[in-house]
Structure formats: C-alpha cells, structure tokens
C-alpha cells in the first residue's frame, strides 16, 4: 500500500533532477522477464521500481502495458509500445516517443499480462489518475474506487484530497475517503470518527457501507462463545422457525440430514419387490403415513438410513444455540455503526415521508388536471361526458403532431398548448351542439351517447396514429429533477404540472367568480328559465361552458402527454378516476375537485407505500375506499347545502 502511495505522490510532485539520468527502458531491461510475462507476485517488483524512478513516462507505459500494447524486439531486447496501422506496425520508443515502422510482427514478442496482473496494474493506475490534471480522469478514478472499495485505496485517496483543485470533487473524495476509513481505518479511533461522520449522510452508498460493517453471519454452537462479537441470539419460533434451525444444524454437520418425502419415495421405488415394499403393498402407498411405515421397515432391515424423528429434531435444536455473529470482530465499532445507522435511517424515513408527500402532490396535480374540465362540464353543468378522456387524448395527440412540424421542443409546447385548447374547444362545442343539447335532462342517455363518441374517437385515433405509444418530448429545461437530498427529489416536469394545476385552479375560479361568463354560467345552471328571461342566452352559455371544459381537457392532455405516454387509450385510463375525483370532491364546486384530487392522489400513494410491489392492488383498494367514502359523504367532501342540494 505504501508503495502505491509513494508512486502516486512522486508523480504529482516536481521530479528531482538527479533521477532524470535513468530511463524507463533501463528499468524495464532489469526486469525483462517480469515485464514480458508478469505474475501476480512478480509484478510488484516492477511496479516498485517504476515508483522509485518517478518517471513521468511510467503512467502511459502502465496504460499500454495493461492494454497489451507493449512488445519486445527480440533482436535487441528493447521494449516498445506497438500500434498497428494499415497492416504495418509502428513501434514507439517508451522514453522519447520516436517511432519506427516494421512490416509485420516477426521478431516481436508481445507482453501478455494475465487478468489478475492487469487488475493490479489497473489499481495502480487508479492511484495515478487520482492526481491526473484532467478532471474527467480524476472523476473516473473516484468512481472506480467507489465501485470496488479496497483497503489499499484509502491512503492515496486521502493523500490526493488536499491538492484537489475542484471543490465538488474534493468533497466527493473526502466522502469516499470517509467511507473507506469506516471499513479499513487503521485504528479503532479512526474508524469510529469516520463512522460518526456518516450520520449526516443519507445516500444509499453510505448506508451500504454501514450495513457492511454490520454484516452478520448465522452461527450455531453448543453455547454462545465469549470472544465473538454477537449481534443477536435467535429465539426458536420468534426469530427462526424450527425447520430452518434444523437445516442449519445439518449444514453445520451437527445433526443428521432429514429424509425428505422425495427421498422416501425414491427409496421405496428402489426397493419394490413383488408388489411389496417393506411389508406394505405398493397399492396402499398413497398416503404419507403408509410410506413412512414402509420406509421405517426398510430402515429396520438396514436397507436405508433411518428417518430422523421429530423428537430427535427437537432435542438437537434444544441442545444448540443459534445466533448472528458480526463479521467485524470489534464490538465498539459495530455499536458505533449501529448508532450511526439508526440516526441515518431515522432521517431517511423522514425524508422518504416528505418525498412520498411530494409524489402524492404531483399525482394529485395530474388527477386535478384531468378532472378540472369535468368539474366544469359535469360538476357545474351536470352534463356527464364519457368522452372527456378522449378530449385529453386529443390534446396529447395535438402536442405530438405539433412536434412533428416544430422540432424545437420549447416552441412546440408553446404552440401546442393553445392549439390543443382550440381543437378540443371546437370538438366540445360541436359535441354540445350536435348531441348533448338534445339530451339535457336525460343524463343516462347523455352518458351512453357520449360513450359512443368515446369509443368512436378512440378507434379513430388508433386508425390514424396506430396502437403504439407516441412520444411527446418535453423541452430540455424541463428534464432533470430538483434534488433536495439523496432521498427527496422531484422532477421538473412534475413541478410544471403542479404549477399548471395551480394556474388552472386560479383561472377557473377567476372565470366562474369574477367574469360575466362565470356569472351567466352560474345563472344558467341554477335556473335556466329565469336566466333566459333576463336576457342571457342559455344555449350560448351552455355551448361556451362545455367548450371551456373540453378545451381545458385538451391542455391537460398536453401536460399529461409530457409526463406519461400518448396512446389512444390514455383517456380511458383517466376517466374513471376523474369522475371519482369530481364525485368525491363534491359536485358543483371547483374547490371540491381540488379536495377530491388531493384525497385520491395522497390515498393512492399511501396505499402504494404500504404495498409497493403492486400498483394494481393499490388502485383496487382505492376504488373500494371511494365506494365506502361515498357512504359517509354521499355529496362529497365539499357538499352543497340546502334545498338546492336536495334536487
């Protein structure tokens, strides 16, 4: 280790002039055989001498050696770096860099370091590279150390920290050195100090390092040894079931192996004689009890090994203790690691909670975006539009088509948003004029008619765009994520969706509460006859309102398309959840939709957290919860009160 350290150090220091007399070739000539066919042991001598020389050529030589580019010219025994160019071979002098060209490899012997040696050279190179002037090389060296931690790396790494010019990389190096110190620190104090330094870090690799320190192996013995660092003594039944305990005894060769059912069966088959086995008729061997009896008879006759009785198993288990022993012998170290890990895990749990909350918030925003158009058409107007999901799909496909013509992603999104609104607004108005207008006060028929439109639009999209998912690429500035720490991170696209959802909430509230249109919408929905008599044209208002709700679905489609994939079925994926959002939130109220989306978003994330492997189950349970929720709040979270609600 010291050898590698001094090698690395000498290369980054200004070389003393006195050493310049020696050339690399001289060193190599003294170790001809080791250079040509190095072994794991012999390579060390060469490396030592290279270090002692402090020659700057040593680094490129090591690389070339590792990459099997070093050859010896047999005529004079000199070493060269050989590069094959256009059927000819160029020989490069290792000290001067001058080249000579030869026609073929006659008279050249290639140095052939084996895998183990190449790894050793590679390790040495990593140390060199830690002080390389090129930051990418230094970064790569640090990454290489992090991938495979080794005691030998600690010294050079620590030594390279002080002179590291890049502050970020210096911090990374210090962190990595800390982790190495935890594992391979020379003294107990050094390791404990390093462990204590870990407690503030939430990253997965730090947790892995601490877990490595705390790694245990299961042990079994007659009694607990005094000198071992014991993690836990296992209680049979609570920590370890009897079956596994006995299996451990068998593995530790402290008890005879059990005879399995398959072994019994094979033994019986092997000993069939005249339709009988061990005095039992083959015909009646269709229960485990009969087979056991036959086997015992065979065992009594000495033909097979006897079965281990349950009593013997129990006795064997009772006669031993089962415990987990730390791989780390020093209990002080493991205790410190345990404390540090507990502190880290507490902070990780808190961070995960926050991260989950952010996830839920972004899911809620998506549900809100998908449902906000419905909150207007269904919630305010009372028109049930099963094709709402297809309007979302139309918006997303609009974005996709725009990107085919406008390659700049930022510009294309800016064009797509209003265009999607315009297209779905038009579609909504057309649908209201042609279909829904004739079905007011027949809600169930509206449901089915709009469903007909929904399947027709879905199939049309399939016919036009095909069944495969189409990409809707987000601009550069929306890729990536906002990282708070190693656990809490949220992608910019989700933040954008959240902001969009907030904007829509504000916009809708403004339109409904502060504009003439909103006033007229509320008037028409509450009392169309009275509104008409006051000079409001209910036809026009219904048309505009429906168009507005549909247009918002189109914009939501662009946003959802950026976040998820664009398919002809994407609308159908959101439609039930969207209706649930509106119903759970409370019909006729935009705040209700917000509440509904939040409830459903947080609920779904919460259930997924409880059962992370299964999003299908999460959705199932969420729907069941909603069905039950409606039992207790049939009118939703934000309920309209009074006589208006009774109708």
């Amino acid at each position: 280790m010291l050898r590698l350290l001094s090698l690395a150090l000498s290369l980054c220091l200004i070389l003393p002039a006195s050493l310049q007399a020696q050339t690399l070739q001289d060193i190599l000539q003294t170790h001809q055989d080791e250079v040509l066919s190095p072994g794991r042991q012999s390579v060390g001598v060469v490396l030592d001498d290279l270090v002692a020389s402090g020659l700057p050529q040593a680094l490129p030589f090591l690389e070339a050696w590792r990459d099997r580019e070093i050859v010896r010219r047999d005529s004079d025994g000199l070493f060269f770096r050989a590069v094959e160019v256009d059927d000819a071979i160029t020989l490069e002098d290792l000290d001067t860099g001058t080249t000579t060209t030869v026609a073929n490899d006659d008279g050249l012997t290639e140095a052939r370091p084996n895998g183990g040696v190449r790894r050793a050279i590679g390790d040495a190179l990593v140390q060199f590279q830690l002080s390389d002037p090129d930051i990418t090389k230094r970064q790569a060296a640090v990454d290489a150390i992090a991938r495979s931690m080794d005691a030998s790396q600690l010294g050079p790494l620590q030594a390279s920290i002080a002179d590291e010019p890049d502050p970020a990389l210096r911090e990374t190096k210090a962190r990595l050195a800390g982790m190495l110190a935890v594992l391979f620190g020379e003294t107990q104090d050094a390791r404990i100090t390093a462990i204590a330094g870990m407690a503030d870090d939430l990253s997965v690799d730090v947790r892995a390092v601490l877990n490595t320190v705390l790694s245990t192996r299961p042990q079994v013995a007659q009694s607990v040894p005094d000198d071992a660092n014991i993690a836990q003594v296992l209680t049979i039944g609570a920590d370890l079931n009897a079956q596994d305990a006995y299996d451990r005894l068998v593995v530790a060769e402290l008890a005879p192996a059990l005879v399995t059912k398959a072994q019994i069966r094979d033994a019986l088959v092997a000993n069939i004689a005249g339709g009988m086995v061990g005095g039992v008729a083959v015909r009646s061997l269709n229960t485990d009890a009969a087979r056991a009896a036959a086997y015992d008879a065979l065992a009594a006759a000495g033909l097979v090994a006897p079965r281990v009785t349950p009593e013997a198993q129990e006795a064997a288990i009772a006669a031993h203790v089962f415990y987990l022993q730390y791989d780390e012998p020093d209990p002080v170290i493991t205790d410190a690691a345990q404390r540090a890990l507990a502190a880290v895990e507490t902070r990780v749990a808190v961070s995960q909670g926050i991260d989950l909350g952010l996830d839920a918030l972004s899911l809620a925003s998506i549900y809100f975006l998908a449902a906000i158009g419905l909150a207007i058409t269904f919630g305010v107007m009372g028109v049930i539009n099963m094709a709402h999901g297809e309007f979302i799909m139309m918006g997303a496909y609009t974005g996709f088509v725009v990107q085919q013509f406008v390659p700049d992603y930022t510009l294309s999104i800016i064009i797509a948003l209003p265009l999607a609104f315009a297209i779905t607004f038009g579609a909504g108005v057309a649908m209201e004029r042609l279909v829904i207008r004739h079905l007011y006060h027949r809600p169930l028929e509206t449901l089915l008619a709009t469903f007909g439109i929904s399947i027709a639009l879905q199939q049309l999209a399939k016919n036009i765009f095909g069944t495969q998912a189409r990409p809707l690429t987000s601009p550069e500035w929306l890729s990536g994520a906002l990282v708070f720490n190693d656990v809490i991170a949220i992608s910019y696209i989700r933040i954008a969706i959240f902001v969009l959802a907030l904007l829509f909430l504000g916009l809708i509230l403004f339109v409904l509460k502060r504009t003439r249109l909103g006033l007229e919408v509320r008037a028409v929905t509450q009392n169309p006859g009275m509104a008409a008599s006051m000079g409001i044209n209910p036809d026009k208002i219904n048309m505009l309102t429906f168009g507005l709700g549909s247009g918002i679905a189109g914009i939501a489609g662009v946003a959802i398309g950026l976040y998820a994939k664009v398919t002809s079925e994407m609308g159908a994926d959101y439609i039930v959840q969207s209706f649930m959002t509106v119903v759970v939130g409370g019909v006729g109220n935009v705040w209700g939709t917000l509440a509904g989306a939040s409830l459903i978003g947080f609920l779904q994330k919460g259930i997924e957290w409880l059962n992370p492997s299964n999003t299908l189950a999460a959705q199932t349970y969420m729907i069941l919860f909603i069905i039950l929720f409606i039992q207790f709040r049939p009118k939703g979270i934000v309920a309209l009160k009074g006589r208006a609600a009774a109708d």
Binding site: I272, Q459, N463, F579, N614, I627, I630
Partner: protein, 388 residues
C-alpha cells in the same frame, strides 16, 4: 277476473315459441345430425349469443324497468364464468394429472396430486399453491352454487351500500363502473389467485365427457342456453308484468313519489339489482364453457357499457327489445370484426371493417340515442299502430 300470467302476456308465449323453433332448427342443421349446414363454431357463436341475450334482459330489467344504469352487470356475468371455469379447469387438470401418475411405480399421495394440479394451473403465474378461493374448486355442485352466490352477494353488499346512501342516476352508474374497474384490476394481478391476465382457459373441454365431440358438446350447451334464456325471459316477464313491475317502473319514473306511497324503495332496488346480477352470473356460467377462455379483460367496464348499448339499440323497457339488441349487435359485431364484412375501396383509402367497425358502432349508437330512443323494438310499435 283472475287470468293466468301467461294468458295475460301472449308476447311471452310468442317468444318461447320462436325460440323453440329456432333451437330445433339449429340443432337439426348442425353437425350432430349429419346435416352439417351450421358449423360447430357457428353453433357455439349462436349459443354464446343466447347467453348474451339472457344477460341483456337482466340489464333491461335493471335499467329499462328500474332505471338503474348499472355498468357492472357484465362483471357479474364474468364472475359466473370464473366460478364455473374454476371447476372446469380444476377437474380437467386433475384428470390429466391422475393419468400421468398412473404410469408411476407407486400411487401418489393426495398432497402430490394437489401439488401437481397446482403446478399445472398456477405455473404461468409462478406459483403452485392453491389460493383459498379455489377451496371448493373440486366440487361441481359447490362451484355452481358460487355461480349464483358470488354475484348475488356482491350485488347485495354493493347495492345495499349504494342504495342506502341514496346514490342515484349517473352517480350510481359511475359508482358501478368503479366497482367493475376495481374487480377487473384486482383480477389482472398475478396474485389474485385466478391466474392474472392469463385468465382461465381450456374451458371448452368438459371433464367426464372427454370422449364426446365438440360438435355434440356445442349443441348441448346451445340447447341449455336456449332453455336458460326461455326460463329467464318468463321469470323476468312475470316480475315486470305484475304489481312488482308497477312499483319498479314507478321507481324509475319518480323515486320520491314511490317512497311517499310507503314503499321502501331501497329494498326494491336491491331486489332487482341482486336478482339480475344472479341471472347475469348464470348467463356467464353458460357462456364461458362455449367461449373456452375467460380473462379479466372480459370484465372491464367497457363490456358492461356495451351491454347497455345492446339494450338501448334493441329498445329499453321491453324484454324482447333487449334480446333483439344483444343478438343483432353482437352477431353484427362478430361479422364485422371477424372479417366477414367486405372492405370498401374508396380509391384513395380502403375502409377495413376490422378497424372501422367500432367507429361505426360508436356513432350509430349516438344516432340511436338521438333519433330512435326506443331502439329497434320501437319499430314494432310503429307496425302495430299502422295495422290498427
């Protein structure tokens, strides 16, 4: 004064008579009698269509008569199929497994048989354990009971929850749709115990009748479906023609008024919802052995919406309308999507019906809702009026 129910409802007799003639004709023209004018696969299609007609009249009763647009009745249909499918799959696999053990030197233990069956059935979802819901799968009788009990209980519990909180109209529709979606999503999971999205397959092979030809099995199921449809038709005609019919139609038209007359509306809805769910389950139990395979996709909400579409196209509030709608649309659908309909070449574009049928269906459905709210059945009214 007191006439029998059938005498008061001659249309029921007409329906039974037409169905009987149809059944006899199809049977005579099938492969079984050697005439072979109707292929076995078409007999199966017709048998399946009869089952769809049965679930359609159930849908008509719950929607057309009682006003509950349930988007869950096809889920009950699917549950019936799963219930009978579990036995079919278990019993058939058991037969195969026992046969394979026959060549072994010593007879298998019950545990070995069970493990081998489990491996065969659940290998596709990476398991060999029998989930608890397969507890009765070895008994045909109990599984047939499940065909009735599971949809019935599910409808009872769901209906009780929904009706008592006075969820009506489109809200109820959305809620039933959510229930259906939840069920489908649940079944899509690999650890649902019902083989995830693989579903149950090989249901066309009836255990105990390994030697019978598919031709004769198909005719038996066809006749059974016809008998079930006839029985269901008579049963529902009896329900809707009497005072019960008056009350449930009253609930459809003005729920509050019925309540102020002293009827406990929720009980009536629950009765109708549950009864029709049970009939849907029975229809499914007859359908899937003819289809051969059932998977969660069959239960998805869209299937229940199609069911409503058939009833609407056939004509709501008349049982024969539901039958006409289901038969007409489902047969037309298999004609179009099966490639039976000729493609239309427009010169610049070829309309392939496999791609465009759903578009046509969707828009024609809008047209029916807008222009023929009484559906095909409404045309009969016009005929009757012209004659008189």
């Amino acid at each position: 004064m007191r006439k029998s129910f059938l005498a008061e409802n001659p249309s029921v007799l007409w329906f039974i008579a037409i169905l009987a003639v149809f059944t006899i004709v199809v049977t005579l023209l099938s492969e079984v009698t050697g005439v072979d004018l109707i292929s076995t696969s078409f007999v199966k299609t017709l048998g399946k269509t009869l089952c769809l007609c049965l679930v359609a009249i159930a849908m008509d009763v719950v929607w057309g008569y009682c006003g509950i647009l349930s988007l869950g009745h096809f889920a009950f249909f699917g549950i019936g199929g799963y219930a009978v499918g579990m036995w079919l799959m278990y019993a058939r696999t058991e037969g195969i497994v026992i046969e394979s053990f026959a060549g072994q030197p010593i007879p298998p233990t019950p545990q070995e048989v069970s493990d081998a069956i489990g491996n065969q059935i659940f290998g596709v979802v990476g398991s060999s354990e029998f989930p608890w819901i397969w507890g009765f799968a070895d008994s045909l009788l109990l599984q047939l009971l499940m065909v009735v009990l599971v949809p019935g209980l599910l409808a009872l519990v769901f209906g009780w929850l929904a009706f008592r909180s006075r969820v009506t109209g489109v809200y109820l529709s959305i809620l039933t749709q959510a229930m259906t979606l939840a069920l489908a999503l649940y079944l899509f999971q690999n650890d649902s115990g019902l083989r995830g999205n693989n579903g149950l397959s090989g249901l066309q092979n009836i255990p105990g009748f390994e030697d019978a030809s598919q031709a004769s099995i198909s005719v038996v199921f066809f006749i059974a479906s016809a008998v079930a449809l006839a029985a269901g038709y008579v049963f529902f005609a009896w329900i809707v023609s009497g005072k019960m019919g008056s009350v449930i139609k009253g609930i459809r038209d003005n729920e509050a008024r019925v309540r102020f007359l002293g009827y406990h509306v929720e009980s009536y809805k629950l009765f109708v919802f549950t009864t029709t769910a049970v009939v849907a389950g029975i229809a499914g139990a007859l359908y899937y052995p003819q289809a051969g395979i059932i998977n969660p996709g069959e239960i998805a909400p869209i299937a229940s919406i199609y069911l409503a579409v058939w009833v609407a196209i056939g004509g709501r509030g008349r049982l024969y309308g539901a039958v006409i709608g289901a038969a007409f649309v489902s047969l037309l659908s298999s004609w179009f999507t099966g490639g039976g309909a000729p493609n239309i070449n427009l010169g610049f574009y070829v309309i392939q019906w496999t791609d465009w049928w759903l578009v046509l269906l969707g828009f024609s459905f809008v047209a029916v809702t807008l222009f023929f709210p009484k559906g095909i059945g409404g045309l009969f009214d016009l005929l009757v009026r012209k004659q008189s």
